[in-house]
């Protein structure tokens, strides 16, 4: 029981707790769910030496492939432009050349574009999360223990706080103040799982289930962002080819 208290307590008050609560997932407090492989946070998927090397090498390979495609495309467009004598065809090849130039610029800028999008997102989330931390939730752990009962529990916590005060403690050590969404969930945990309230227990379990869903969603998001980000050079190259052929 004490382990579970630590498990959820740690997650509710700290950033490095065992179970991620929804606000920690959404406010970028869980490193493993960070999709930013360009500037990875410590502990994220892209920060590990092996995965970072893998992402970098794959991106480089796709970059080299894209430059090869661009080179071949430039040769073909150039040759066709030189040997074409019909004005309409020449105009078409000039348009293809313009598309090619835009494409080559995009090829070199696309990872800056990605880095910018990740940075902007992180800043928005950071500024918004500051507002959310203002919510306080107080919990009296000892009073929640069913075996003690609320009267005895309060009496025991009163004794403990008095002793602590004797030794210089300025505030109650059995009352815990938690913040944010994690605090709300901890309240349901204490009232329900520890205190035995049925509705609180059910609420707690439902929210935990929903949180699992959120974790899966964000994990999927991380993988998809990394895959889509790594294939950016090839996407640019194929887009240029497709537009040139139209």
């Amino acid at each position: 029981m004490l382990y579970y208290i630590y498990f959820f307590y740690g997650a509710g008050v700290g950033e490095n707790g065992a179970f991620p609560f929804p606000d920690q997932i959404i406010f970028n407090k869980i490193a493993i769910l960070d999709p930013n492989f360009i500037n990875p946070a410590v502990g994220s998927l892209g920060h590990n030496d092996i995965t970072h090397g893998l992402f970098a090498n794959t991106y480089s390979s796709f970059f080299v492939l894209a430059t090869t495609i661009f080179t071949i495309a430039a040769l073909v467009i150039g040759i066709k432009l030189v040997f074409s004598s019909i004005a309409a065809e020449k105009a078409q090849y000039k348009k293809a050349l313009n598309t090619w130039i835009v494409g080559i610029v995009m090829l070199f800028l696309v990872h800056y574009l990605l880095a910018g999008m990740f940075y902007l997102n992180e800043k928005i989330v950071e500024s918004v999360s500051v507002l959310a931390d203002g919510i306080e939730v107080k919990i009296d752990l000892l009073a929640s223990f069913p075996m003690l009962g609320s009267t005895i529990g309060k009496a025991v916590s009163g004794v403990i706080n008095s002793v602590a005060g004797f030794f210089g403690a300025k505030e109650s050590i059995t009352d815990i103040t938690l913040y944010g969404y994690g605090g709300i969930i901890m309240r349901f945990f204490c009232l329900g799982i520890i205190g035995g309230d049925l509705i609180a227990s059910i609420t707690f379990l439902i929210i935990i289930g929903q949180t699992f869903g959120l974790v899966i969603t964000y994990l999927k998001r991380t993988f998809m962002c990394i895959v889509l980000g790594i294939m950016a050079p090839v996407v640019v190259a194929i887009d240029v080819i497709q537009k040139s052929l139209k």
Binding site: F118, R187, Q210
Partner: protein
């Protein structure tokens, strides 16, 4: 799969943009919910469930549900569908299973003619070896007979009676060996014609499967749907290509074979009557005897065996296929490819309209609605 609603880059940018900024939307939404929670005010009672806790519970559960639903709503606002690779397959297990079964059926159908051709080629290689061995044996038997003839009774150290018996045996052995060679060579000729037929069939089936696969991919949004559509398209293409093959390459030959089979019973009956009763066409009672022979139950069995044997024989393929016929066949396959390629590049009107139909009505092709995996 390639940029139906705009360029590939635009699609990629929209998808990755939504993935990244979805977190910002979630964060703003969560803060909004938590402001509501703050105004509801959490109970001061630290150990009892109160009415405020009830409101808190409802708000928390609804907020979490809304968070996930909002993602789909925002994607819809920006016109983004789930991708082929991480979208509908996970959500619709039945469609995924149908897709797997369709892909398997199409692959089996495509591979079948190739397997048949490969088996026939293997049989032909074995037959060639058998012919070589049979020829060697026949040559050896013939040499024995020739040496015996050259040597004569005195050279063979036998009396005349023994010599004649030995000569007869040697001659019979040589004749049987030569007959064996002829039989094996006839089998080899049949195998060659069967291989020609099977190879053309393989090319046609494989070509139609490639075209059907391309059409399926271009006309649908997920791999599962693409496999189902490709399987059904492939069946239709095969049903078009097989008669096209018959009418173009084998047109005259197929008609000749058909005529031969139709005339076979009458011919066989006339031969039987001639053999049994010594009657010829035009003799009195000849037609009556032929009619009775055709009605005879035993003779009907003989006719059936002969017709089966005639159907097995692709003797018509020994004749050279004229280039005009091959060009006609090429045109049929080319048109099939064009349809598939057009749908694949999503530039064809057929591909776009088909894709719209798929999205509106589910999987439906030429009036066939796929509601049961076993129907595929």
């Amino acid at each position: 799969m390639g940029g139906k609603n705009g360029g590939i880059f635009e699609e990629w940018f929209k998808n990755i943009g939504i993935l990244i900024f979805m977190q910002s939307f979630h964060a703003i939404f969560l803060v909004f919910i938590m402001e509501i929670v703050r105004h509801v005010s959490i109970s001061d009672s630290l150990d009892k469930w109160s009415i405020n806790d009830g409101m808190l519970a409802i708000i928390s559960m609804v907020a979490m549900l809304a968070l996930i639903k909002m993602e789909k709503m925002i994607k819809g606002i920006f016109g983004i569908k789930d991708s082929k690779f991480m979208g509908n397959i996970g959500e619709n297990f039945a469609k995924g299973m149908a897709g797997i079964k369709s892909a398997g059926n199409m692959a089996a159908r495509t591979v079948e003619p190739a397997k048949r051709t490969a088996k026939l080629v293997g049989d032909k290689v074995r037959n060639n070896k058998e012919i070589t061995d049979a020829k060697e044996k026949a040559a050896s038997k013939q040499k024995t007979y020739d040496d015996l003839v050259k040597a004569g009774p005195s050279g063979s150290h036998m009396n005349r009676k023994q010599y004649m018996e030995k000569l007869k045996e040697a001659r019979q052995a040589a004749e049987e060996a030569h007959k064996d060679v002829a039989t094996k060579q006839e089998k080899g000729r049949k195998l060659t014609t069967d291989i020609k037929h099977s190879a053309v069939q393989t090319g046609s089936t494989f070509g139609s499967s490639i075209a059907a696969g391309a059409f399926g991919i271009g006309a649908t949004d997920t791999i599962a749907e693409a496999a189902i559509v490709a399987n059904m398209t492939d069946k239709v293409l095969d049903s078009v290509a097989n008669p096209a093959l018959k009418n173009t390459v084998y047109g005259k030959a197929a008609r000749q074979q058909q005529q031969h089979i139709e005339e076979l019973p009458q011919k066989m009956a006339e031969e039987e009557v001639g053999r049994r009763y010594g009657l010829k066409k035009g003799d009195a009672g000849f037609d009556e005897k032929v009619r009775l022979t055709l009605d005879d139950a035993n003779f009907k069995k003989q006719i059936k065996s002969a017709v089966d044997a005639a159907l097995d024989t692709k003797f018509e393929l020994d004749m050279e296929i004229p280039s005009s016929k091959l060009r006609q066949l090429g045109k049929v396959m080319g048109d099939t490819w064009k349809e598939g390629a057009g749908a694949f590049s999503a530039d064809s009107r057929a591909g776009r309209s088909y894709s719209r139909n798929i999205r509106k009505n589910g999987i439906e092709y030429k009036g066939t609605n796929v509601s049961n995996v076993d129907d595929i």
